[in-house]
């Protein structure tokens, strides 16, 4: 039997201690979504250097990739993308009514798998920059 609770607004961050797993998932999904759409605009802007010529494109990409901070940001981007993908699959399942009773566990699983994939990717992302 479903029951409604007055949880107030999720945006009231003073209440974060009482957030449930689903509310954290909602906030993380929204945050990672903002990062990804922001990155998409940046990504297209950087790739657009190809319109001015092959040399400009290669100099831009290789110049950015030579910076350690860019490599670290890429690790962060991977973490954001992996979480958004995994939690997105979780949301598709929730929308289809599959595994609703385990929606909190699937959120924790998304976090753990994101962490594992991110840590495992660090050597690949940082190779050759230091």
């Amino acid at each position: 039997m479903s029951q409604s609770y007055d949880r107030g607004t999720v945006e009231d961050f003073g209440r974060w201690r009482s957030f449930s797993a689903g509310m954290w998932a909602w906030i993380f999904h929204k945050f990672t979504g903002w990062v990804l759409i922001g990155y998409l605009f940046t990504h297209i802007a950087v790739l657009s250097t190809a319109t001015t010529g092959p040399e400009v494109y290669e100099t831009t990409i290789q110049g950015l990739e030579s910076l350690a901070v860019v490599r670290l940001l890429e690790v962060g981007l991977l973490a954001v993308a992996v979480f958004h993908i995994l939690n997105g699959v979780r949301l598709l399942m929730v929308d289809l009514g599959v595994g609703l009773e385990a929606q909190d566990k699937s959120f924790y699983a998304s976090l753990i798998i994101t962490g594992a994939i991110t840590v495992a990717s660090v050597p690949t992302f940082l190779s050759g920059v230091f």
Binding site: L78, I85, V89
Partner: protein, 122 residues
């Protein structure tokens, strides 16, 4: 049982398209990351290499679809957050919609222009 938390009205076309593009993007975003960071490293990217990939119909059409679906999914997500959830109305809603539509069009046009520079399919 907690209430369903979502930025979306689950009865609309917007909700359905957001889910359909999500299902597509789950696969293509993972493929894109894997191909360009783990198979080919971003630091080793060359114009010729990108051009070779973009000169096959399969890869070119996949990337164009990726651009279109990612733009829609991202911008529609922002729209639903700002307009649907935060309840912006009136002239502010019109302004937000206009900015998002123009930004989307600019991104798609610029993305396609760049894609056409790389490919030799046309």
């Amino acid at each position: 049982m907690a209430d369903h938390y979502s930025s979306f009205d689950r009865s609309g076309t917007s909700w359905l398209l957001q889910r359909l593009t999500a299902a597509f993007l789950v696969v293509v975003l993972a493929f894109h990351f894997f191909l360009l960071h783990f198979v080919n490293h971003a630091a080793d990217v060359t114009f010729a290499g990108t051009s070779a990939r973009m000169s096959t119909w399969t890869y070119f059409s996949l990337m164009v679809l990726f651009l279109l679906t990612a733009t829609f999914h991202g911008v529609n997500g922002v729209y639903n957050t700002v307009v649907g959830q935060d309840g912006v109305t009136g002239w502010k809603k019109t302004a937000v919609t206009a900015v998002l539509v123009v930004a989307s069009l600019l991104m798609v046009v610029q993305g396609l222009r760049t894609a056409l520079v790389w490919t030799n399919l046309f």
